[in-house]
Amino acid sequence: MIDRLPLPAQFDRLIIVGGVAVGLVMTPILFVLLALLIGDQITAAELVFWLAFTVIVAGASGTVLLNNIVHAALSLIATLLGVAAVYLLLATEFIALVQILVYGGGVVILLIFGLMMTNAQDDPVVTDGSQKPFAAIVGVLLAGVFLAAVIDAEWGSETMTVVPFRDFGARLFRDFIVPVIIVGVLLDIALSGAIVNARASRIEDVDADETTSEASS
């Protein structure tokens, strides 16, 4: 299975397309933001935020729109990194760190493995379902509702509270020790479940399943 995967070629294309796309989108935005920064219109933090905003929205768009699954997965990585940047802006370095480690290092890799094990063929595929228009409507509707709510509301306090790294850890393991343990157990169970599910069934079982499914269809 693995050896049928045309990895090198894909990577080549990926680097080229990704680089060009990022360059095309990011460069003008970067210039605009820099101009604003130089003209004292925005602070550095805001510059970073807007950059992250752009990355996130672009990446999310890529994730949900791109037909090529691998491209989508890479867009997801970009998005998640952007989110990590947002966390940093919110002064929560630890969460940002975790985000990068878990997502960038774990989840996405897992997803890509999943991709490789399922979409083995190189055939052109239709990745979007028939209910795309409805999805768009619901998405726009919900976004509209959220935005209306966010803009409409009075948010009061404009100060940020920064929690030192050490305090965070101390409280986490003092006040939240039980949830932490439970999450640990949950992870363990989830992993076991994943293994059990993903483990190859014996050949006979597969055959039997296939015949029954054929019979039923």
């Binding site: 379902g129 209910q131 409805f134 999805a135 619901v138 509707l141 919900l142 509702v145 959220f146 209306a148 709510a149």
Partner: protein, 643 residues
């Protein structure tokens, strides 16, 4: 001492005895020797004795003027049901007056005769004990009916005799015809009983009592509206007509001859069928208040008398001829009541009971001997069965209305009253009917006992019945010969009464009347009867060639009579097409509309909806998620919109 032992206040004992016999014989009959027939007979003999004692007590009260003969009194009562402290009371009450005292001896004595006779007639039958039990039950119900002081108790007894009649007509239930006849009798009378019950309740509705005397008083005081009372009394008469087989309910009585012959003698000739007459007689003061209803009684009586007599002319079954005759004679009684002639009606009831039971028992003797019922198979039996032939002939003469015999006096009385109080046409019709009666009676006697035997085998077989059967025949024949004389004042007085029956049984506002033989009138009546007998002899003496010629003279007419004016066919048609048709429509409606459309239909509708909606369950996760998201979006919109 013995005389005081049982008085009028103790008449409740009378039905109690045969009822006890019924319980004893029906439950333990198998354990008793002879299946307990002697218990029934002895019980009945005791009843006859007690009736005699009651009669003596009654006479004493009459002479002491303790109460007027008609006004009477409730002699015994207790509350059976009481709702709202006397608001709605059903009581058990006994009432004795002269009308009762006519009925009691008839019922008890004829019953005793029939029971004795049955020992011989029913010998060797299956369900021998049950026969006696059922007969005792009948007598109990009949006696209860006669002594009832209130209408609801009367209704109870009324239905009781109906049940007994049903059971006894259907005694040979293995025969489909017997089962059908029993059913027909019960349902026909039951339809009349609907009227009776409605009438009773209508009377109660105004007076608030079921007590007969109180209702009569209320009617005389004008408590009722005229129309209301007319309707009520007509309903009441429907019950009487049903039980007494009057037009248009007469169809059941000829078929009821499927029962054993002694049963026909007792129930369908002497006692039960006169219950209707008894009821109307009992309520006659009320009928006198509403003359329209009384006229209806008269006309129904007339129609029935004539119609049944004509049908009797052509019937060939010996028992059916007698049955038609019974219907016809009951018509006479109703006609008499229809002109308010209580005395005549009760007198005829009295004499009729004796000679008609005699005739039936005589025919039973013939059937017992020959096992033939069709007159076409009989003939010449007078040589083989002299006693039967003689007694039967006496009964026939009484029925035909030949002077000296009992029937003459009572029939004469009826005709006399009709001539005086009724329309002239009514008198003419009854006179013609009397002539017809003589004709068919003569015909019956001639065809059965005279001439040449038509079925040699049956004739050879025939023999005189045993004494246990002929004994009652002789007793009854003697009575049929003499009971008519009680109309005379002297005869009555010599028996201990105040006078003849006319001085005993009468309506208060009519007053007693002393019988005087109107020679001219009696001569006319006698002439009518004699002419009838003569015509009968002319047509059927010897080979009956003339009768056959008469038959072929107007075959349609003959057929009309044989088929009983097609009334049975009409009723059957109504039942088949209208009643069962309606039932079919309702059953169809219930099956298709109520059940399949309404009930099953609604489930099918739900099922159909389910079938349609199940396709929403595509099984595809995106569709479910879309639905969920739409829901969330909708909720969010609502939430935003409301704040």
């Amino acid at each position: 001492m013995g005389i005081d032992l049982v008085g009028m206040e103790d008449v409740w004992i009378l039905p109690a005895i045969p009822f006890a016999v019924f319980i004893l014989v029906s439950f333990f009959g198998r354990l008793i020797p002879r299946n307990g027939d002697f218990i029934a007979v002895l019980g009945m003999a005791l009843v006859v004795l007690l009736v005699g004692l009651v009669l003596v007590d009654f006479q004493g009260a009459f002479h002491d003027e303790v109460f007027a003969p008609i006004a009477g009194a409730n002699t015994y009562s207790f509350d059976w049901i009481d709702i709202g402290d006397g608001f709605f009371v059903i009581e058990f009450s006994t009432y004795v007056d002269a009308v009762t005292m006519v009925m009691l001896p008839v019922v008890s004595f004829v019953s005793l005769m029939v029971l004795v006779y049955s020992i011989g007639y029913m010998k060797g039958e299956a369900r021998y004990g049950w026969y006696f039990a059922a007969l005792s039950f009948f007598v109990a119900a009949m006696l209860l009916l006669v002594i009832s002081g209130n209408l609801l108790q009367l209704y109870l007894a009324w239905e009781g005799v109906g049940l007994a009649s049903y059971l006894l007509i259907g005694f040979y239930w293995e025969r489909q015809s017997a089962a059908e006849a029993a059913k027909k009798a019960f349902i026909t009378t039951r339809i009349g009983d609907v009227g009776l019950l409605i009438g009773i309740i209508l009377l109660w509705r105004v007076t608030g009592t079921f007590d007969i005397q109180e209702i009569i008083h209320a009617a005389e005081e004008g408590v009722f509206g005229q129309t209301y009372l007319t309707v009520a009394m007509l309903f009441l008469f429907a019950g009487a007509a049903g039980k007494s087989a009057q037009f248009p309910f007469h169809v059941w009585l000829p078929d009821a001859m499927e029962g054993p012959t002694p049963v026909s003698a007792l129930i369908h000739a002497a006692t039960m069928v006169v219950a209707g007459v008894y009821l109307v007689a009992r309520m006659l003061p009320v009928y006198d208040e509403v003359l329209i209803a009384r006229d209806v009684v008269l006309y129904v009586g007339l129609i029935t008398a004539l119609m049944a007599a004509t049908m009797g002319l052509v019937a060939t079954d010996i028992k059916r001829v007698l049955a038609f005759s019974t219907v016809s004679q009951l018509g006479f009684m109703f006609a008499a009541l229809g002109v308010g002639a209580l005395t005549a009606a009760m007198f005829h009831l009295f004499t009729h009971a004796f000679f008609k039971s005699l005739l039936f028992l005589g025919s039973g003797s013939v059937i017992h001997a020959t096992e033939q019922q069709e007159v076409g198979e009989l003939g010449g039996l007078r040589k083989k069965m002299p006693i039967t032939a003689l007694t039967f002939t006496i009964g026939s003469l009484a029925l035909a209305g030949i002077p000296v015999f009992a029937g003459f006096w009572s029939k004469d009385e009826i005709l006399h009253d009709l001539q005086h109080y009724g329309p002239f046409a009514a008198y003419v019709i009854l006179a013609v009917t009397a002539a017809l009666t003589a004709i068919y009676t003569t015909r019956l006697v001639l065809l059965t006992f005279f001439g040449k035997p038509k079925n040699e085998q049956a004739y050879e077989h025939a023999h005189e019945s045993p004494p246990i059967m002929t004994g009652p025949l002789v007793i009854l024949a003697v009575l049929a010969l003499v009971v008519g004389f009680i109309t005379y004042q002297g005869v009555g007085e010599s028996l201990g009464f105040v006078g003849g029956i006319g001085e005993l049984v009468y309506l208060p506002h009519h007053g007693p009347h002393v019988f005087k033989l109107d020679i001219a009138f009696a001569a006319v009546a006698t002439a009518t009867a004699v002419v009838g007998v003569a015509i009968g002899i002319m047509y059927w003496w010897g080979d009956a060639r003339r009768a056959i010629a008469a038959q072929s003279w107007a075959p349609e007419l003959h057929q009309l009579l044989v088929r009983r004016y097609y009334l049975d066919e009409l009723y059957q048609g109504v039942i088949n097409h209208v009643v069962l048709g309606a039932a079919a429509v309702v059953a169809w409606f219930d099956k298709r509309v109520v059940n399949e459309t309404g009930v099953d239909g609604s489930t099918q509708f739900v099922g159909f909806l389910g079938y349609r909606f199940k396709f929403l369950q595509t099984g595809r996760i995106p569709h479910y998620v879309l639905g969920m998201a739409l829901g969330v979006a909708a909720l969010a919109v609502v939430a935003i919109g409301t704040t």
